[in-house]
C-alpha cells in the first residue's frame, strides 16, 4: 500500500545531499522573558522524514512557528533552499514551498473541503466575470484526494466531518500548493490508535512523492516507525540529531526527558494513613480520561507525569470542577464533590495552581494586591462588604515576604510587571494561604527560575508536612521525582504505571511517557 516506492525499499536516504534547511544558533526569547529556544542548530536533508521530539515546553512549537513565518527569531540564522530565510508573514513561507499542518485546525466550518483547500488560490478557477467554476475546483482537489487515497469528497462541508477527516483537509491544504517542505505538528494527537497506522503510512507516502517531512511528536513508537533522522529538543536546546539506525527508543526517551535529577532534592515522607481524596473510575465528557482511579493520602505528594496532551489538562479541569465527568466519582474526605462548582470546592478545602498563570491564575492587568486576595476575598478575612485595605495589604505583604516575591516598587503595580518566577510565587503563595486539604498543582514551576523553583518546592514540602495532600501534575519529570511520594504516568488518558519512591527510574518512566511501554497501541507493533 505504499505510494511510490515498492515494499522492501530502504526508507532512509543514503546518498549525500545538501540540506534543505539549516538552522544556525537560532534563539527565541519572548517579550515576557521566556527563553523558548536557545541556540538551536540542526539541519534537515532533502527528501527525508525528520522527527523533532521533545516534551512540552521543549520549544518544538516555537521552532515550527518560526519556520512557518508566524514569529521571528531573536537571533540566529536560517537557510532554506540555500538562501537566507526570514519571512515576515506566513504567505512568504508558503511562497517558498513550506506548508504546516497545525495541531489546532484553521478550517472554515461553513464552506466545503475544496473551498478550504484552494482558499488563497481560488482565482485560478475564476472566469472573466469572477465566478468560481465549482466543477473545475472540485475536480482539481479530487485528483489530489485520489492520489493521496483519502476518503473525503471535495464538496463535503467541514462542519459535517469527523476530526480525523478534518485533519486530512488540513493536509490537503498543505499539499495542494507547491509544497516541498511539510511540517506536521503532533498530527497523531487527534487520531484514535487504530487510525495511526494508516496515517503513518500516509506520511511515508508523502516522502516518497519527493517531499521533505518534519514530523513533531513525543510518541516514540511512531517516530521510530517512519523517521529517517531524529532531533531531540530539551528545554529549548538541541540535545542532538541522530540517524535512526544509530539510536533506539530507550536512548531517545532518556535524552528527551533527561537523566536522574541531582540528588540534593528528594521527596520527604509525611504520608499519613488517612485518605483525603479518592478518585474512582473517572472519565470526562470529552473522552480523554478513561477510567482513571487513584487515592491521595494526607501529607502525600502524588505526581502525575506525562507529556502534555495525554490527559493532564483534563485531570486538572475535572478536579477544578470545570470539566464534567461522564462517569466516576470524586470523594473528598468521603463526601462526593463531583457536583460542586469551583467556589464550592474551594470552600470545602481544595486549592488550585493552574498551569496558565496569565490567563487563569492571575489577572495580569490588575495590581498585586488584587491578585493576591482573589479567592480569599469572600472569606471574611478582609471584611464583609467593603475591603479593608490595610488587612488586604498586610495579607499581600505576608505572601510576598514568605515567598520572596520581588515586586519592585509597590504592591499596587500590575502583576504583569513581575517576572514569570515572581508571578508564580505569588500565585503559589496565594493558594497555599488557603491552608487547603488538597492542593492541585499543574506545572507549578513552568517558566520559573531555579531559585523560585526551589522555594516553591520547599513550600510544597511544608504544606504536605502539615497534613495536606498535593496532586502534582507536571511535564517536568525531575520536579516530580524531587517531590512525589508516588508517581502515576498518564498516557492517552490512562494511568499506565504507578511507581513509589524510592523505586524511580527516569529511563523506565520515560518509556511509559512516550508509549514505548504500557500502551497497547498499534504504533508499538512497528519495529
Amino acid at each position: 500500500m505504499f505510494l511510490g516506492a515498492p515494499p522492501g525499499a530502504p526508507s532512509s536516504i543514503s546518498r549525500e545531499v545538501l540540506p534543505i534547511l539549516v538552522c544556525n544558533n537560532v534563539s527565541k526569547t519572548y517579550p515576557n522573558g521566556l527563553e523558548a529556544l536557545k541556540e538551536v542548530s540542526f539541519d534537515v536533508k532533502r527528501g527525508e522524514i525528520h522527527a523533532i521530539v521533545g516534551e512540552n515546553g521543549a520549544g518544538k512549537s516555537t521552532l515550527m512557528n518560526i519556520l512557518f513565518g508566524m514569529f521571528k527569531p531573536t537571533s540566529g540564522e536560517i537557510t532554506f533552499k540555500d538562501k537566507q530565510f526570514s519571512p515576515k508573514h506566513p504567505s512568504e513561507a508558503i511562497g517558498l514551498g513550506i506548508g504546516m499542518v497545525h495541531q489546532h485546525f484553521k478550517l472554515v466550518q461553513s464552506i466545503t473541503v475544496a473551498e478550504n483547500v484552494v482558499l488563497g488560490m481560488e482565482k485560478r478557477f475564476q472566469n472573466r466575470i469572477g465566478k468560481i467554476n465549482n466543477a473545475e475546483m472540485n475536480s482539481s482537489v479530487s485528483s489530489l484526494i485520489e492520489r493521496l487515497r483519502m476518503s473525503i469528497s471535495p464538496d463535503d462541508r467541514i462542519q459535517d466531518l469527523p476530526i480525523s477527516k478534518k485533519q486530512q483537509v488540513e493536509i490537503l491544504k498543505v499539499l495542494y500548493r507547491d509544497t516541498d517542505f511539510v511540517i506536521l505538528d503532533e498530527p497523531t494527537a487527534v487520531l484514535a490508535p487504530n487510525e495511526v497506522e494508516d496515517f503513518l503510512e500516509f506520511v511515508t507516502g508523502i516522502r516518497d512523492m519527493g517531499k521533505t517531512v518534519v514530523f513533531i511528536s513525543h510518541r516514540l513508537g511512531e517516530v521510530f516507525a517512519i523517521a529517517d533522522r531524529i532531533t531531540i529538543l530539551r528545554r529549548g536546546k538541541v540535545v542532538g540529531t541522530f540517524d535512526k539506525k544509530d539510536v533506539n527508543r530507550e536512548s531517545v526517551a532518556n535524552m528527551m526527558i533527561g537523566t536522574a535529577s541531582d540528588l540534593s532534592e528528594r521527596p520527604e515522607d509525611f504520608v499519613r494513613d488517612e485518605i483525603v481524596l479518592s478518585v474512582k473510575q473517572i472519565s470526562d465528557i470529552s473522552g480523554i480520561l478513561k477510567n482513571l482511579s487513584f487515592d491521595l493520602h494526607e501529607g502525600e505528594v502524588l505526581g502525575f507525569a506525562g507529556v502534555g496532551g495525554n490527559g493532564q489538562e483534563e485531570l486538572f479541569e475535572v478536579l477544578a470542577g470545570n470539566l464534567m465527568l461522564s462517569s466516576g466519582e470524586i470523594l473528598l474526605k468521603g463526601s462526593s464533590i463531583e457536583s460542586l462548582n469551583t467556589l464550592e470546592r474551594r470552600k470545602v478545602g481544595l486549592a488550585y495552581i493552574t498551569d496558565d498563570r496569565m490567563k487563569k491564575g492571575l489577572a495580569p492587568d490588575r495590581s498585586i494586591v488584587e491578585n493576591s486576595i482573589a479567592g480569599h476575598h469572600k472569606s471574611g478575612r478582609f471584611g464583609k462588604l467593603a475591603i479593608n485595605s490595610s488587612k488586604a495589604n498586610a495579607f499581600t505583604e505576608s505572601i510576598i515576604a514568605d515567598y520572596d516575591v520581588r515586586t519592585g516598587k509597590n504592591i499596587r503595580t500590575p502583576v504583569r510587571a513581575l517576572s514569570g518566577g515572581n508571578m508564580q510565587k505569588l500565585l503559589v503563595g496565594r493558594e497555599i494561604a488557603y491552608d487547603p486539604a488538597v492542593l492541585i498543582a499543574s506545572q507549578p514551576t513552568a517558566g520559573v527560575d531555579v531559585a523560585a523553583r526551589k522555594l516553591i518546592h520547599d513550600s510544597f514540602r511544608r504544606l504536605s508536612k502539615s497534613g495536606s495532600g498535593i496532586i502534582l501534575i507536571s511535564g517536568d519529570l525531575e520536579e516530580i521525582m524531587d517531590l512525589a511520594n508516588r508517581i502515576i504516568v498518564l498516557y492517552r488518558g490512562r494511568a499506565v504505571v504507578e511507581l513509589a519512591y524510592p523505586h524511580y527510574d527516569t529511563t523506565e518512566i520515560s518509556y511509559y511517557m512516550t508509549g514505548i511501554r504500557g500502551s497497547q497501541n498499534a504504533s508499538c507493533t512497528y519495529s
Binding site: 508573514h89 504567505s91 484553521k106 472554515v108 466550518q109 488563497g120 478557477f125 469572477g130 465566478k131
Partner: protein, 299 residues
C-alpha cells in the same frame, strides 16, 4: 378594498424600501467580513447632504449622486482605517462617525446655505424616474415609473448574491468574517478584504443617501435618515447577510413604513409598524440562538 389605496401603498413601499435595500446590501458586505456596521446612518446622511449640494450646484442629479457616493466612500474609508487597521472599537467609531456626520451636515448647511433645519431649492435636480406610460394600469403603476435607483438596487441585489456566494472575492469575504486566521494562513491580508467591503458599503450607502434626498424628497433636512441605517442593520441581521433575503426583507420593511404613514391617518398607532424591524431582528436572533442551544444540547 380600494385599488387606488393598494397602489399608493405599493408605490410608497417601494419608495421607502429602496434606500433600506441599498444600505442593507452595503452593510451586508461588511457583515460578511465580520464587521457589524453601525455607521450606515452616517454614511447615508453625508451622501444625502452632498447629493443635494452638488445637484443644486450643477443642476444635474447624476453629479449629485456621484458626489454623495464619494463623500460616503470617504467616510467609510475613515471607518475602515480605524476599525480594521487601528483596531479601535467598532461601535465607538461608528457612533462617533454618526455624530460627526450629523453635526457636520448641519454645520455645513448653515454655513453654505444659511439653512437652519432644512435646505430646499427648486434648483435641486431630482433623480430621474423610468417614466413610461403604456396605458396598462398594472404596468404603469407596479412595474414602471419608479426611480432608476430602485431598478438599480434590485439588480445590485442579484449581482451581490452572485458575488458573495459564487466568486473568489465573496469566498474570501465570508471566510474573513468566519475565521480570519484561515485567511492569514492562506496568505491573504484580512485588513485588505475588510477595507474593500467597507468601500463597497460606502458606495451603496452613498446611493441610498442620494435616493433619500433627491427622490423620496427633494431636499436635505436635519437627521433625514431617521434611523434607516439601523433598520438596515436589522434587515442584515434578519437575513443573515443574504442579498436575496435582504431584497424581500427590505420590501417588507418598506411596507411597514408605508403602513405606518397610512395608519397615521386612521386611528391605529403607526409606531408598532415602525418598531417591527427591530423587534423582528431580536426575535430572529433569539430563535437562532434557541435552535443552536437545542442542537448543542442534543449533540
Amino acid at each position: 378594498m380600494d385599488m387606488e389605496l393598494i397602489t399608493t401603498l405599493f408605490r410608497t413601499s417601494i419608495r421607502m424600501a429602496t434606500p433600506i435595500l441599498l444600505a442593507s446590501l452595503g452593510g451586508a458586505l461588511t457583515y460578511h467580513a465580520g464587521i457589524i456596521n453601525v455607521a450606515m446612518e452616517g454614511l447615508m446622511l453625508i451622501s444625502a447632504f452632498f447629493s443635494v449640494v452638488f445637484s443644486y450646484l450643477t443642476g444635474n442629479a447624476l453629479y449629485g449622486i456621484i458626489a454623495g457616493m464619494m463623500a460616503s466612500i470617504l467616510i467609510s474609508l475613515l471607518y475602515s482605517v480605524f476599525v480594521s487597521f487601528l483596531k479601535a472599537n467598532n461601535f465607538a467609531i461608528g457612533f462617533a462617525i454618526n455624530i460627526l456626520v450629523s453635526s457636520l451636515t448641519l454645520f455645513l448647511m448653515r454655513i453654505m446655505f444659511q439653512g437652519e433645519n432644512a435646505f430646499n431649492s427648486p434648483d435641486i435636480a431630482p433623480i430621474a424616474e423610468l417614466k413610461l406610460i403604456t396605458g396598462n394600469y398594472f404596468l404603469d403603476n407596479y412595474i414602471l415609473n419608479f426611480s432608476i435607483l430602485t431598478y438599480l438596487s434590485i439588480l445590485i441585489a442579484f449581482v451581490l448574491a452572485f458575488i458573495v456566494y459564487k466568486t473568489s472575492f465573496g469566498l474570501r469575504l465570508r471566510v474573513c468574517g468566519e475565521m480570519p486566521q484561515a485567511l492569514t494562513t492562506a496568505g491573504v491580508k484580512v485588513g485588505f478584504v475588510q477595507l474593500c467591503s467597507s468601500v463597497l458599503c460606502g458606495v451603496l450607502c452613498g446611493l441610498a443617501g442620494a435616493q433619500l434626498s433627491l427622490y423620496n424628497v427633494r431636499m436635505f433636512s436635519r437627521e433625514m435618515t431617521g434611523g434607516r441605517g439601523f433598520v438596515a442593520l436589522a434587515a442584515i441581521l434578519i437575513s443573515g447577510g443574504k442579498p436575496k433575503r435582504i431584497l424581500i426583507i427590505s420590501l417588507l420593511f418598506g411596507v411597514f413604513d408605508a403602513l405606518s404613514i397610512k395608519l397615521q391617518s386612521e386611528k391605529i398607532a403607526p409606531q408598532f409598524a415602525l418598531m417591527l424591524p427591530y423587534v423582528m431582528s431580536v426575535v430572529v436572533l433569539l430563535l437562532f440562538h434557541l435552535k443552536t442551544r437545542k442542537r448543542l444540547k442534543n449533540a
